[in-house]
Assembly symmetry: C2
Homo-oligomer: 501 residues x 2
């Protein structure tokens, strides 16, 4: 495939200057239009070593307003990055609406340079490809424009460039032992790159191969490709804007999910005060031991809490954490998104709080807001919340692929119990702050929520990230069930990890 | 000092439970009141090894809503943290208004454990103390409540605890070789800690020494101290709220600064097109070389741009960066603060963008907004902007202490030139976006701004972070002056660093 590329393409200085000068103005204009339209843009530079990624990025950004883009050089992951799922370092760098993020090397490292260097084992390759494809798909579905360049030079040209760099004191540090190895085994490395290009050339994020021997030619091709893509994107949006907006009727899926998971839950389960105290004490002690094992084995844990208002999330979280070492867990409350979060993909803020290996991240309300409150209140379109089930499954699978334990609890109570708790809260001066008018309003939408929850539980309970519905009318029973479930899951995981090491 | 502490203080189980149960409710309430009042709270735990910092933090947070606090364990700095000024890792963790940040070890590391371990050289101690004092003062002036605990146990008790930890497979990793060394040289380490307590016990951030042999006693003392401090803080604010609010008359300091720096600037300076091209080319080439040297020598660089609207900041930044490796610099645009930034100290967002060693951070508008637009528009009180000169000088000195080159440019044009440029922009379809109604409104306040700028230049131009006023009526002259100044400063710094290594 790549050996068919004609590397002799060149352009003369004069036509280069002419085209670039024009392009410069046009690109600046396009950048402002994308900013106004709130389009996030990602531009990826990959390619053979010394193909000139740095040079080309520099030429491209000459035409851009430096206040509107960021350049990220993706070297080998730092300690901190290694302790998180593979995509974490990239998710956290995805651009806000209207901004441009330029990546000098990217998430493609894993299937290419890191693969060659043996950092990505061959049996992890299918996962790595899957992670990449779903990452790009999710961003693209959310409106991000993804432009990918692969800069190609052949073995001889590369050798020549390495030698030149090696020859000067100022640049010699740029050529590593690994670079020379990849030059020696050029064919083998090339095959990996070709495989990458084939596997990840999608309609929503296509590759452009750049003949990179002549730098001017390459720069022109890159700038032109960026401009064409941004222009066609802007035109498409304009055209779409003239069509009537997508209708989002509040279609209930009640029929399908009416006899759903929740209706089968036995809410009469309970524990006596005595049983509760005894089991709770044992479970908390055991949890503290497991927490310390997690830390030593570097296992990350993600625990999400959802449930009806007054379902007992706060109390369960408190019992769960009370004997844990506070240095090893974090409770992330999820409120309405702030103005930074609003200009990113809805999963971005959760990616930012993915736990380090060995740490526990507890979410009080979660990413499932997308398919509950956002769905019901119309904060997102029908297309968006329907797409979210798969996106969420993918995100959780990325965490699980990185070795995380992922658990999600639905704290279930019935409507009468909720009313009782609301009234109790209102009567208690110490608890009044917990209850607002909004809680009463949400209560009126109980049936809509019940449908949404039933659908959510069915669509997103997976082997790697199961939903646990907790019978919550009796708080004792509920809290013990939460802790017992966490203890069991951690023990199972720890056993598995120990066996595999 | 510490040897006078009575370590035999104890409390019986029953009174412990009673006090703790009451405290628990009261502390939860205080947390909510602080949240409502928007008070940020910092609680620092320092002390001898194995004094029980983790245990005490855990007991304290039992009474807190886990959604309202964060616990930070401050071990030795990571690679990433080492590449930034000492206070960076702490500034970025300061709590938002209404939140509580609990530090398990803190910025005191540098003058205590890191000092003992030889990581802080003795000749750097005065700087380290200065950094700590001004950090706490700045936060306290901004309304942060700072509560500091020092947990004390004696040599024998520590030895006993280390042995016990060492005895169990699960806890042995907690006791390091350094811990044992500090036990052996207990007296020497103690002296360092006493010095620390004396030097940093201020009225705005006092230390509480906690007798930590009996854990229940220690927990009670800590919880009580926290409650007392929060209560008195809340009362003080309530009392202050009843007094008439601080008046912020727009006192001009015109008289004092009327014949200020700006009036002496010769705006007729210019360069011919030819001179400009020749010098620019040379300067850009030289800058690229210096950039690569900076990277190898790990020198961080901070360059701030301020100036009149249409003063030419954008053009100067573009020329400055055009030949730089985009992986080694970042342009940070400074707009009105977003809602996350608004609930932090006004310097917090700039601390977040402090460059790594070897990198250049360029700020398009800066922290000087505090003493210009915020002062003039009344976005902060008179007390606040008057205090800001010193705060800013301190921040820049922290950066300089960490080895950074810090430069600040004021791009100066006169009122006629501004009008000419505004009109030119309005006439050019490609530049219309650059000019808004606000620009015209700001122009009406020219005299007020001129006074503020004159005062700012005088009060914040320091040897370690000088202001450079750039004669900007001729763009060529201005751009060359900016680049020449940067080149000179970098060459000087590089020479100095090379000589000292």
């Amino acid at each position: 495939m790549l050996e068919k590329i004609d590397l002799n393409k060149t352009v003369d200085k004069k036509s280069y200057r002419k085209v670039m000068d024009e392009a410069s103005q046009r690109l600046g204009l396009l950048q402002r239009e994308c900013k106004a339209a709130g389009i996030p843009v990602i531009i990826v530079f990959e390619g053979m070593g010394a193909a000139g990624k740095g040079v080309q990025i520099n030429r491209l950004i000459q035409a851009l307003d430096p206040r509107g883009f960021d350049v990220y050089a993706c070297d080998r992951p730092t300690e901190d990055e290694q302790m998180r799922p593979f995509l974490w370092r990239y998710w956290t760098k995805t651009p806000a609406r209207g901004r441009i993020a330029i990546f000098d090397r990217s998430w493609y490292r894993s299937v290419q340079v890191d693969r060659f260097d043996g950092l990505t084992p061959e049996d992890k390759l299918p996962d790595a490809y899957q992670d990449i494809l779903s990452f790009e798909k999710q961003l693209s579905d959310d409106g991000t424009v993804i432009i990918k360049f692969f800069l190609y030079i052949d073995k001889e040209e590369q050798k020549k460039r390495f030698k030149k760099l090696d020859g000067s004191k100022e640049t010699a540090w740029r050529v590593t032992r690994e670079d020379w190895e990849r030059n020696k085994e050029f064919e083998r490395y090339l095959t990996m790159n070709e495989e990458m290009l084939e596997n990840t050339d999608t309609d929503y994020a296509p590759w452009s191969i750049i003949e990179a021997v002549d730098r001017d030619y390459a720069a022109l091709k890159i700038v032109t490709a960026v401009m064409d893509r941004l222009e066609s994107e802007l035109e498409e949006r304009k055209a779409a804007g003239e069509k009537p907006a997508e209708k989002t009727p509040l279609k209930t899926t009640r029929d399908r999910f009416k006899n759903g998971v929740l209706s089968g839950i036995d809410l009469s389960k309970s524990l006596t005060e005595e049983e509760y105290k005894e089991r709770m004490k044992k479970l908390q002690k055991r949890l503290a031991q497991l927490h310390s094992e997690l830390y030593r084995l570097r296992i990350p844990v993600v625990i999400g809490f959802e449930g009806w208002d007054a379902g007992g999330k706060g109390g369960a979280i408190k019992r769960l954490t009370s004997q844990l070492d506070p240095r090893g867990y974090r409770v992330n409350p999820t409120a309405a998104p702030n103005d930074i979060e609003k200009v990113h993909h809805y999963l971005w803020r959760f990616w930012n709080n993915v736990p380090k290996a060995g740490h526990i991240a507890i979410f009080d309300r979660t990413w499932y807001g997308r398919v509950m409150v956002e769905r019901i209140e119309g904060f997102c379109t029908e297309t968006q919340w329907k797409r979210a089930y798969q996106e969420i499954n993918e995100m959780e699978s990325h965490m699980a692929n990185a070795g995380a334990v992922v658990l999600k609890f639905w704290l279930h109570i019935d409507k009468d119990e909720q009313e009782r708790r609301f009234k109790e809260r209102q009567a208690d001066p110490l608890k009044q702050w917990k209850i607002t008018d909004e809680d009463w309003r949400n209560r009126e939408k109980w049936d809509q929520y019940e449908d949404a929850v039933n659908e959510m539980l069915v669509r997103t309970s997976t082997t790697y990230a199961p939903w646990i519905v907790v019978e919550g009318n009796d708080k004792h029973y509920a809290r013990v069930k939460v802790l017992q479930t966490v203890v069991d899951a951690l023990e199972k995981k720890i056993k598995k990890v120990k066996e595999s090491r």
